[in-house]
Symmetry: C2
Subunit: 253 residues, 2 copies
Amino acid sequence: MPDIARVARPSQLSETVSKTIEKWILDGVMAPGVKLPTEKTLSAEFGVSRAVVREAISRLKAEGYVSSRQGAGAFVEARPGQSSFRLADALDPAGPAATAHIFELRYIVETAAAALAARRRTTQNLARMREPLMRMRRAVAEQTDGTQADDDFHVAIAAATNNPALLRFIRFVGHQFFASRVPTWSAEGHAAGRAEAAQAEHEHMFDAIAAGDGCAAREAARIHMVEAARRIGINTDHWDPAPLAPWEEEALP
Amino acid sequence: MPDIARVARPSQLSETVSKTIEKWILDGVMAPGVKLPTEKTLSAEFGVSRAVVREAISRLKAEGYVSSRQGAGAFVEARPGQSSFRLADALDPAGPAATAHIFELRYIVETAAAALAARRRTTQNLARMREPLMRMRRAVAEQTDGTQADDDFHVAIAAATNNPALLRFIRFVGHQFFASRVPTWSAEGHAAGRAEAAQAEHEHMFDAIAAGDGCAAREAARIHMVEAARRIGINTDHWDPAPLAPWEEEALP
DNA sequence: TAGGCTAACTTGTCTGACAAGCAGATCAAT
DNA sequence: ATTGATCTGCTTGTCAGACAAGTTAGCCTA
């Protein structure tokens, strides 16, 4: 079943209130450090109960826009909204152009991660990469779904960088494209040879990382990312060439 | 006044409840898609009022762990917590090691951004980079604070990549180190020549980007990042050398 | 003037209630 | 027997009022 466009939810009162206050903050109407109106004032202003206002403020607290102290009031944070990073904002939903931008970001970190993984991977890391690689091999042979294994493979590479922040970011960005991997591993994808092609790229990445060759790993990851982008219809002409270090250059064929 | 260690806040009831449920989800006790206990059940279970439970769930909704439908109940999201990315988690606060990891992530994206900016920048982009650059020059000359200008400069470079996602991520990561830039622009920083050194690196970055030389821009950014890391006491020995493309290599001195 | 004290105010929590919406059961009709 | 509508209990969303806990600012006293 093709996914149905999610019906516009009936606007929740608390959401309306929180979005309004969020807009105040983002537009600079309420500068960092200033005190928000009291809950009683806001509830009167918006014409809703205090419970709704509290729920709205609770959401703003969770997203790092404000913080509140009992007895004192609620205050706009120093760097509102910068405590967490989100790609698909509810205010400006991600279009096709945004997808290309996010993929370029993924391209940057994944190629760097592959190079780092080649230099830092332990034998245990390699084992954790080999497992999803085998699952993908089987998926290609049996023409089954390898989407999850694909995801796991990239996460395993990120884990080999020994950088938890990088790992979490790659996991985060990668999950944004979880759905995009389906066309590769679908029946059509198998028939068109997309799954097989992707798997060949994965094998190259693994071999380079196993060999400890950061240069080759970066190049293999670069090719995989460019091809993956192509498979989901993203133009990569103007991308940075995920370049190699001068002393790595002679290792290329 | 040296900043005082923030005293442990008196545990908010709603925070306790939301952290507990968050842990349930992260530990897999509650799988994606399953229905949470009703608010009445939870309030009885935790021994708090329904208002507290509602506030806790509201927080979890904001962070993308659960979603709720009126009349039906609250359900664990398909990819709980993956709707937003945060570096300093409240559960495991960022230590010095984490700072190094985050800085490496910043290093990866900032060097890539510099290379992209050199290839894509418009004259308007250059003007927006020149402005904070001038402010920093003045700060060096007058031994004043250039922290904000420093931040603005890096954001202006990111903006020149013409990639909003990359811009937002660099702004996000850069702000994590806003406080770290203070030692460079403090009175001691000026006296020790740190501000002057940083400014020289900035000038090199700007010149390379203005010249449209992606290779030189990447190298200038690499040097700046490594030096900036050194200034705040981060070991960079095992970092990836932010390499150059083969065809860019001859441009190096 | 300095310091303590009080009073008003604000957020945090509790209780009870009703409205809006959902899911399963019941039941009638074809 | 299957389908369709209706009904009923349950759950979340919203409201109102109240008290507890904590803060702020002004007053008052020494």
